[in-house]
Amino acid sequence: MSGFNKVVDTYEQAMAGLEDGMTVIAGGFGLCGIPEGLIAQIKTMGTRDLTVVSNNCGVDGFGLGLLLEDKQIRKMVSSYVGENALFEQQLLNGELEVELTPQGTLAEKMRAGGAGIPAFYTATGYGTPVGDGKEVREFNGRPYILEEAITGDFAIVKAWKADTYGNCIYRHTAQNFNPMAATAGKITVVEVEEIVAPGEIPPSEIHTPGIYVNRVIKGSFEKRIERKVTAN
């Protein structure tokens, strides 16, 4: 089954084809479950004018925040971006555009993009600035707004384990946006902690079937914690 072996050996291969102006969908919630090495590779490549779709934009000096340092991001599509000063500065300077999207709508837009649903209605955001300019329609007497799907030229995903066919599982809440991101990239690249043989992950436990995955690379992860809180 060599045609199904998605494993690549280098980050250059993993992100080959990424070009200026492309849209990149990234999994992760805050710093949890982010494809650290793939983000670093984009920084190394210096690709510019990117539209990045991700719930957050990392922090100063880590995660997607790294791509702000050389102003590689032109536009962020996120639900919450409050964690870094560089972001704030570039936003105020007009160097960076942000499209704030409710968290559930963002997740659903990615899922829809991967699932061939071009648009859907949701009550979320109706009557708020998020609904401005969007079609409103009533179903069963309640108003909803029309939201369109998101797809990316690339999706960058962090999984716990993948087999060589690209079947993935996620660990704990590091799952978050990763499964939807994985479905919505023209090219989906998954960075994992461990690569296993096909069959090691039981078929019904697979979170992301390999059909969505184009490339798999084994990474090593710092897994920085954003807010460490412990019980007394």
Binding site: F29, G30, L31, C32, G33, N55, S78, S79, Y80, V81, G82, E88, L91, L92, L100, P102, Q103, G104, T105, L106, A107, E108, M110, R111, T122, A123, T124, G125, Y126, G127, T128, P129, V130, W160, R171, H172, T173, A174, Q175, N176, F177, N178, P179, M180, H207, K223, R224, I225, E226, R227, K228, V229, T230, A231
Partner: protein, 218 residues
Amino acid sequence: MALTREQIAMRVAKEFKDGDYVNLGIGIPTLAANYVPEGIDVMLQSENGLLGMGRYPTEAEVDADMINAGKETVTAITGASIFSSAESFAMIRGGHVDFTVLGAFEVDANGNIASWMIPGKLVKGMGGAMDLVAGAKNIIVTMTHADKHGNSKLLADCTLPLTGVNCITRIITDLAVLEVRDGAFHLTERAPGVSIEEIQAKTAGPLVVPDSVPEMVL
């Protein structure tokens, strides 16, 4: 006396019924988890993909892959489930979460809520708040009745950009419990020792005061 944050949280926790699935926002709402009454169990939903959120971890239990929607390290209870953000918001949007408790800058007499954006200040984003107010079966807003300058947060019409429309039915403040219906705030309880006059003075929107307004039991 106006309630403390902890006392507001205690009053919020009295709303829970055994078996409720509850999503608690950051701040006072989160504190409510500490005051769930004896004999009542609730299961906490964290919108980053965890149903059955537990206590904070011990130092040994800390795991970067286990966080809550506030990005804090956390644990899961026995019987928890973990899922994607799409599944998490399917639960929320689909009305499967029984209770959402969240803070607000303003609520108005039509049940509109403003909680995410103050024009002129940097906008950080709405996170999951818009989904939560659009989806939950019951929403409780917790906030101080007035801001630190004494300006009422219970208005005839919200002045700030909205988080959701026509969705808030119950408010628990440091001064009172109110229901929102028929274009007015209906006072149902007052904080111990707080006068109706004070509540009237600090409620800018239309307020309906019944003949008898009991004090809260905390």
